[in-house]
Symmetry: C2
Subunit: 494 residues, 2 copies
C-alpha cells in the first residue's frame, strides 16, 4: 500500500489501472451475478451494504476501489466492442479528475470563470466543425447526455412554432406533430412523452433498406399530419443510427423542413464524430442546414463519460433562444448587479447546476490536436471496414447490413446453417439463427474474451453489432482474434 | 515536473491542490474577466482557443491544469460560502476519479455490474433514512441534478392522474394544475414549461413570514383551480428553500394531498441532508408521507458534484412506475435474452446513459460512517446558528429572516444607517441599503477574502445569504473573521 492520503492512494490505483488496459490477457469482464458480487465484496472485507455504517479506514477503502475496478467491465480493454463508447481517452480522464477536484458548477461565471470561457471556446470550435452556417450564428450547452440534447432541440422547436406553449401548456393549444425515422434513438420517443407532445404525435417515418429516412415518406407524412388537423413542427433526423449506423439524407430533409417551415434537428450523438475527418465528414453533408445538433464526444471520440454538446443556430431573428425558452431570471442567482453576469450560462438550461463537462474535451483536443482526433476517427472507420471485409470473406459469417458508420452488423452462421441467406431462409432457419448470438455472447462473457452486443430488429433474427469507438489501441490483429474467437465458440456450441 | 504519464502528473497536481485547500492565505478567487483569463492562459503558453489546434506536450498540459485551478474559484476554501455547495468531500472526489477511469454507464447491469448493485444499496440506505414508508416500497435513480429530479416527480405524478397523457400528449387532455410555494426553486417553473403543463397552470401558493407554504392557502388554491375547470394533480413542496432555507409543513401538506388525491413531491435537494442528523431530522417531519423526494448529497453533505438522488414510493398498486412511465424496451439495449437484464436500470430513465454517480456517495459514506456524516451536518447547523447569534449581537448587522436551515440571511448596516429597521425604514434608507451588499461583495471578490451571495427578494433590499455546507474545515474563528471582514470593508466603502 502506498503512503499518503486516501486520494494519493486511489490515484496510484487508478493510474496503474489505466496502464493495465492494453493487457490483453486480462478478461474484459469477470462475470458475476449481483449475489456473487455481494459475496466477493464481503469476503474482501467491505460489505456493499451501508446498513448501520461504521467509519472505514483508508486501506480498506482502497482495497474496495481495487475490487470495484476488478469486477467492473474493462471498457478500455481492446476487446470491448459492446456500446457506442469504449475506452475513455486518458487526457480527458485527467480533465475529469480535475473537474472533480475543482468541484464547481458552470451556472455562473462567478463560480466557474475558467470553465465558462472554455465552454465558449469548445462551442466555437464545434460550431466551426459543423459548417459555415453554425460558425456564423450559434449558441449551445454541454448537457448530461444525448437524450437530453435531443430534448433541448424539441423544446426550442416548440417555442418557435408556438411561443405561447411555455405559458399555456399543451392543453388548449394546437396538436403539434413531430417526425423521426423508424430507426432513430428512443430518446425522441421519451422526449415526446415527457414534453407533453404525446407519443401518438411522434410519427416514425419509413427508412430505406439501409435504415436512412426516406425523404418522400417524410414529405408525405407531413402532408398527412396536416390533413389530419395536426401542426407539424419538428423533424428529428439522425447521423449514425444506433444499430445500423445510418446517416439520414440531410440535404433532402433540410429542403422539406424549409418547405414546410419545420425545425430541423440532428441527433448526431453517435455519427457526428465523422465531422472531424476529412475522409468521412461527407456522411454529414447538409448537416450545417439544421437548426440544432446533438453530438456526444464521449461516444466515438472517447471523451470520458459524459461529454455531450447541444448546438443551435441562433440566428439574429431568434437571438438568445435558449435564454428565451429556459430563462427564469432567478433573483438569487443571476443578479444583474453582479460582475460579469452577461457570461452566466445557467439560465439557458433546463437544469441549474451543470458539471464542467467541456473541460475534458478541451484537454483532449489540446493533447491530440485536430490531426490526432481525425486519426482516431479514421482508425475507427478503417477497422469497421476491415472487419466487414473479413465477414464478407468468411463462410462462417454473414453481413446483415452494409457498413455506414463504424458499427458492423453481422450473423455468425454455424456449420448447420452454412450458406444461410436471409431473403430465402425458412422460418426454422431463422429461429435457429436467432439463438446463436445470445449463446456465443454468453460464452464470451463467461470467458471474458470480448464484449459485443446483439439484437433482433427489423425482422432479422438476433445479430451481432460490433462497434469501433476510440480504438487507437485496437489493431487489425485484434479484429482477426475476435473473428476467430467467435468462430471457435460458435463451432463448439452451435 | 514529476515523472510519469500525463495522468500521473495531473494526479500529483490535484492531490497537492486538495492538500492546499485549508490554506487560508490563498485567495478564494483571483478575480479576472474573460478577456484577462484569455491573456493569462496565452502568456502561460496555452491559448484557450482551439483554432487550428496542434498537438500539445504533456508538460504544457499540466501547466494549463495548474492555471485552471489557480484561476478557478476555490470552492473548498474555508471562506467559500456562496452557493448551496462548497468543498467536495475528498473521499467522494476519489470516488469520482475512479468513475472517470472506469468510464462506463449505468444503463445495463452488463456494462456496470458493481455500480448497479451499489446504486441499489445507496437507494436502500437513503429510503430507510427518510422513514418507514419509503423503506417499505421505494424505487429511484441517481440523476444529473435536482432540477431533473423534480422533473421526474412531475412526470410520474402526471402519469398517475392521466395514464393516457404519455401517448395523447397535453392537447385534448384535461387542464392539469400543479402547486408549489412562492419561495420554491425555479426548477418547478422550468419543469412546468418543458413538460407541457404550462407555467400558467403552476400555482404559486403563498408562504408565511418565514417562507413556509401556507396549508390553508394551498387548500384554497386547489379548490379555486377545480372551480376554474382545472385538474389539480401535483404539489411540489420544499425542504430547505434556496434563499431562506424554509421547510414547508409536510404533515399538513400530506393531509391536503391525501384529501384531494394529489401527488406529493418534496424538493429536499438542499435541506434533505438534515435527515442524517438526529438533532435536525425533525425539520422533515412528515416527509415520509410524500410520494417522491429529490435529495442532493452534493449540496450540504459535500459529495462531489453531481450527486443527486430521486426516490419514489413505489407502492404495490403502482409497481414499477418509473419503468411504466419512461420504459421503451429498446430492443438493441435491453434484450430479454441476455443475462441479468432484470437488474437493468436504464429503461427507467428519461436519459439513456447515466454516470455512476452513486459511487462517490457510497465511498464517502463508507469512509465516515453514519456518525461522521451526522457530525458534518450538525456542524453546518451549529455554524449557521453561531453566525446568526453574531449578527444579532452586532450593531453593524441586521437579520433578515430567522435561521431555519444552514443559510443565514442578513444585512450589513453601515454606520450611516445605524439602527436600521425594515418595518419602519424610509424608501431612501431601503435604496441606500440596496447598494451595500453588491459593493461589499465586489470588494471581497477583488481581495479574494470570501465569497458570499446576495439577492433582493420578497421586497427586501439586497441582503447577504451566507451558506454553510460541508464545512468541517470551517471553525468559529473563520466565522468571526468573515464577520470582521465584512464590517471592515463596509466601514471603508459605505
Amino acid at each position: 500500500m502506498s503512503s499518503g492520503t486516501l486520494n494519493d492512494k486511489v490515484s496510484v490505483v487508478l493510474n496503474d489501472y489505466l496502464k493495465s488496459l492494453d493487457d490483453r490477457s486480462e478478461p474484459v469482464i469477470r462475470l458475476a451475478s449481483a449475489v456473487e458480487l455481494k459475496g466477493i465484496f464481503k469476503e474482501g472485507g467491505m460489505d456493499m451494504s451501508l446498513k448501520d455504517q461504521e467509519p472505514t479506514g483508508d486501506d480498506a477503502l482502497v482495497a474496495a476501489c481495487e475490487n470495484v475496478l476488478k469486477y467492473s467491465v474493462r471498457t478500455g480493454h481492446p476487446h470491448f466492442y459492446n456500446q457506442l463508447y469504449a475506452r475513455g481517452d486518458f487526457a480527458s480522464i485527467a480533465g475529469d479528475w480535475l473537474v472533480a477536484a475543482a468541484n464547481t458548477n458552470v451556472h455562473t461565471f462567478e463560480v466557474a470563470p475558467v470553465f465558462t470561457v472554455l465552454e465558449e471556446e469548445v462551442k466555437q470550435k464545434v460550431a466551426g466543425m459543423i459548417g459555415p452556417n453554425f460558425a456564423k450564428d450559434y449558441d449551445g450547452l454541454f448537457v448530461p447526455g444525448g437524450s437530453l440534447s435531443n430534448l433541448y432541440g424539441l423544446h426550442l422547436a416548440r417555442h418557435r412554432i408556438d411561443p405561447e406553449y411555455n405559458e399555456r401548456g399543451g392543453h388548449g393549444g394546437p396538436k403539434l406533430v413531430m417526425f423521426t425515422s423508424d430507426q432513430s434513438h428512443y430518446s425522441y420517443l421519451k422526449g415526446s412523452r415527457l414534453s407533453g407532445i404525446g407519443s401518438r404525435n411522434l410519427i416514425e417515418v419509413a427508412t430505406d433498406a439501409q435504415g436512412r429516412m426516406c425523404p418522400q415518406a417524410l414529405d408525405q407524412a407531413i402532408q398527412d399530419a396536416i390533413a389530419d388537423g395536426g401542426t407539424p413542427f419538428f423533424v428529428g433526423a439522425t447521423a449514425g443510427t444506433t444499430v445500423l449506423g445510418a446517416y439520414d439524407p440531410f440535404n433532402e430533409i433540410a429542403a422539406i423542413c424549409d418547405k414546410h417551415k419545420l425545425w430541423f434537428h440532428i441527433d448526431a450523438c453517435w455519427g457526428g464524430s465523422a465531422l472531424l475527418s476529412k475522409k468521412w465528414r461527407h456522411c454529414l453533408d447538409g448537416a450545417d442546414k439544421a437548426n440544432s445538433i446533438a453530438w456526444n464526444p464521449h461516444k466515438m471520440l472517447g471523451t470520458a463519460l459524459q461529454s455531450s454538446i447541444f448546438l443551435v443556430r441562433d440566428t439574429e431573428a431568434e437571438g438568445n433562444l435558449l435564454k428565451k425558452v429556459n430563462g427564469t431570471n432567478a433573483a438569487y442567482l443571476f443578479q444583474p448587479d453582479k460582475a460579469n453576469t452577461e457570461l452566466d450560462v445557467g439560465d439557458k438550461t433546463i437544469q441549474c447546476g451543470r458539471k464542467p463537462d467541456m473541460f475534458k474535451l478541451w484537454l483532449q483536443w489540446k493533447k491530440w490536436g485536430d490531426a490526432g482526433l481525425e486519426a482516431n476517427i479514421d482508425h475507427c472507420f478503417d477497422l469497421a471496414y476491415y472487419f466487414s471485409e473479413k465477414v464478407e470473406a468468411s463462410d462462417s459469417f454473414c453481413s446483415v447490413y452494409p457498413v455506414q458508420c463504424t458499427n458492423v452488423c453481422f450473423w455468425y452462421v454455424p456449420p448447420s446453417l452454412k450458406g444461410f441467406n436471409f431473403e430465402t431462409a425458412t422460418q426454422e432457419q431463422l429461429d435457429q439463427l436467432d439463438t446463436v448470438a445470445p449463446k456465443i455472447k454468453e460464452a464470451m462473457q463467461e470467458r471474458g474474451n470480448a464484449l459485443i452486443g446483439f439484437q433482433a430488429i427489423n425482422g432479422r433474427p438476433n445479430f451481432f453489432r460490433i462497434v469501433f469507438a476510440n480504438c487507437s489501441n485496437v489493431t487489425k490483429k485484434d479484429v482477426d482474434d475476435v473473428i476467430n474467437t467467435i468462430d471457435e465458440i460458435g463451432r463448439e456450441l452451435c
